[in-house]
Symmetry: C3
């Protein structure tokens, strides 16, 4: 059985199957300012928190994360925010590569797979 | 137990484990013409349909898709074809980033995870 | 239940859930020389072997691999090493796209999902 939440025509923000949660790629919240990599990473991870909560999970139950970063010059600061966000002893598998996202102002995006908390 | 189909030395087109289907990255069908982004997206999704059918699933049971697009200028047209292909209420989680594929004429590729229909 | 191994603050090298193993993105071993694509691919796959062994699996039980290559000009040689490494009849689903990794000397990286051997 597949459980979808926040489903639009293009994608679902949350898809659950076999106690495994797939989130759609998360970027920072929309804003009229030009947020820094630090702000974008924090905002993106806040959105991941919200989706995981809605999916019946949390950041202690991440399985895998793929981080796309627009420019590796921002790698260190992104990691600083990431490291502070991860609960000690609960880090997921992770890969991070450079890529451009849908809009040029987007500096970082993350694809998350997590486990349902039982 | 792992079930593989269309297995060659480099990759299997279909791998099934735990009722979860992993497809190898799909691009458009080989052609002697230079297909547009619209044609490539349609052809790629047709191949996804064929593989899902062979794996015992269909496009109503997608879990997650990672779309690689050669140039974000093609994002809107790719999405148009994508949106029309997704059955209403059944959209997977999705991420889309810009990347170059194995051959320069390839404008779009997709990695799909789906569920076995039971 | 989630089983993590080689967990640091940023990531776990191994995460196991539902008999599915997620490895963190693997690149070649650190070295003071500038290894070629052939050497980097071999070294990267050796590290995958070591992690799979530790996770209770092996290269006959790969489910899915995402290969990131810095320059598609290296595609053929990477594939040569890859093809020789895959046990006949056991190839995973695979996608390969061009991307830059965390450090400019890195020519190839792989994200692996595998199955626990039972």
């Amino acid at each position: 059985m597949i459980d979808r939440q926040q489903t639009k025509q293009r994608m679902s923000r949350i898809v659950v199957h076999n106690d495994t949660i797939y989130l759609c790629g998360q970027v920072c919240k929309d804003t009229t300012t030009e947020p820094t990599i630090r702000e974008q990473t924090a905002s993106m991870l806040e959105k991941v928190d919200e989706l995981l909560l809605e999916a019946g999970s949390d950041r202690e139950h991440l399985l895998s994360a793929t981080v796309y970063i627009r420019d590796m010059k921002d790698f260190a600061i992104m990691n600083e925010v990431w490291d502070a966000w991860i609960p000690e002893g609960h880090a997921p598998a992770r890969a991070c590569v450079e890529a451009r996202m849908a809009r040029p102002e987007l500096l970082v995006e993350v694809s998350v797979i997590a486990a349902v908390v039982k």
